[in-house]
Homo-oligomer: 204 residues x 2
Amino acid sequence: MTTKSKPEDTRLKILNAAFKELHKHGYQGMRIDQVLKNIDLKKGALYYHFSSKQELGYAVLEEQIQKNMYKLWIEPLNKFTDPLEAIHSIFTERDQWSNEFFNLGCPLNNLAQEMSPIDEGFRQRIEKIFQNWQTAISDTLKKGQEQGIVDNSINPDDCACFILTSMEGALGMTKNHQNKEVFYSCGRELKRYLDTLRSTGGNV
Amino acid sequence: MTTKSKPEDTRLKILNAAFKELHKHGYQGMRIDQVLKNIDLKKGALYYHFSSKQELGYAVLEEQIQKNMYKLWIEPLNKFTDPLEAIHSIFTERDQWSNEFFNLGCPLNNLAQEMSPIDEGFRQRIEKIFQNWQTAISDTLKKGQEQGIVDNSINPDDCACFILTSMEGALGMTKNHQNKEVFYSCGRELKRYLDTLRSTGGNV
DNA sequence: TCATTGACAAACCAACTAGTCTGTTTAAAT
DNA sequence: ATTTAAACAGACTAGTTGGTTTGTCAATGA
């Protein structure tokens, strides 16, 4: 009766539904049955596309979360001429973010905190994504150094690591307090830090 | 045959064992059976002292994690005359920390990230502890303002929030990378931020 | 000395959970 | 038109999970 959809559609539907459940309940708390219930599919469909819950989890991480990451955190870095302003804009231009991001936290970091100690496969995949992110920030800072905007004495990698962890920490606290203002407050204080990276005098 | 231990001993044994499992696997991943197996007790013992897994979780939070918090994060703040040095010492004097803290992360933040969106009881209890911590840092900064060490123009509450989130973020990234150096690196960068809080000229 | 009770052990249970197995339907190929 | 295989549905299962019930034994008080 109902026409069958293309396999790629079904696979994507499952990934999207799994992402939502995983975002809210974590990987261990995510229930296969609940995911399927939300999109009105049965076990047969899921286990035709994925061999196990773990493989589904890895797929959500690599095909949903990672993609999301690039769009929300990395691409915006190139929209500004001033690299420090670009980094700070992450905190100021977040009106288009969904409330779920504040209430449920960063999907990548959630998974990192939950799975890093108990699943090496998750941990390594997440570590790579974090490192890509850190590199993107670091490159932005290096570009700033070449432009004479960022001080040459600072270590871009260390700074990028700190900026990244501060953002994740801020999102985590926002989730616990269920209050966006926590995030914006942290953004204002991060600005103070970013200003210390600014080149003071003449550049080499 | 075997002499019965005092009730308080048993209760504490359960709390300690539950804390360990919760620290590694999270609340949802913590298995009652495994906790009891580790200390060679049976269901009857646990459900005599606690009415449910949730109540056990709340007890671990309030009697183990909270206590740990004060000892590791709040008490050290009073051991220094310079408040900014006191805050930074959290990062520098961590040799006595167990490796579990780096590998498994901050128990309080772990629980916050996992349970905040799905259990209001956990969320509120955790929020209070975080607020106490933030207040302790804020008070340290205020004391620094009175001493003329910390600039009067800064907002102690905002700064405390940022410091707290940065620490938690740093610990989270350390856990994912399984490398202490990440934490120390973030500590060095936080120092740059802390220096911006230092009073520049004469104090009022 | 004996009844009572605190502090558990042992066995049990219903609900759940990831995963499997066997169809069945639809679209494409021949 | 018939075969074939992709793309599922539906029913089932073994193992797990938090929680319960009943029994037991030592300490305690009368």
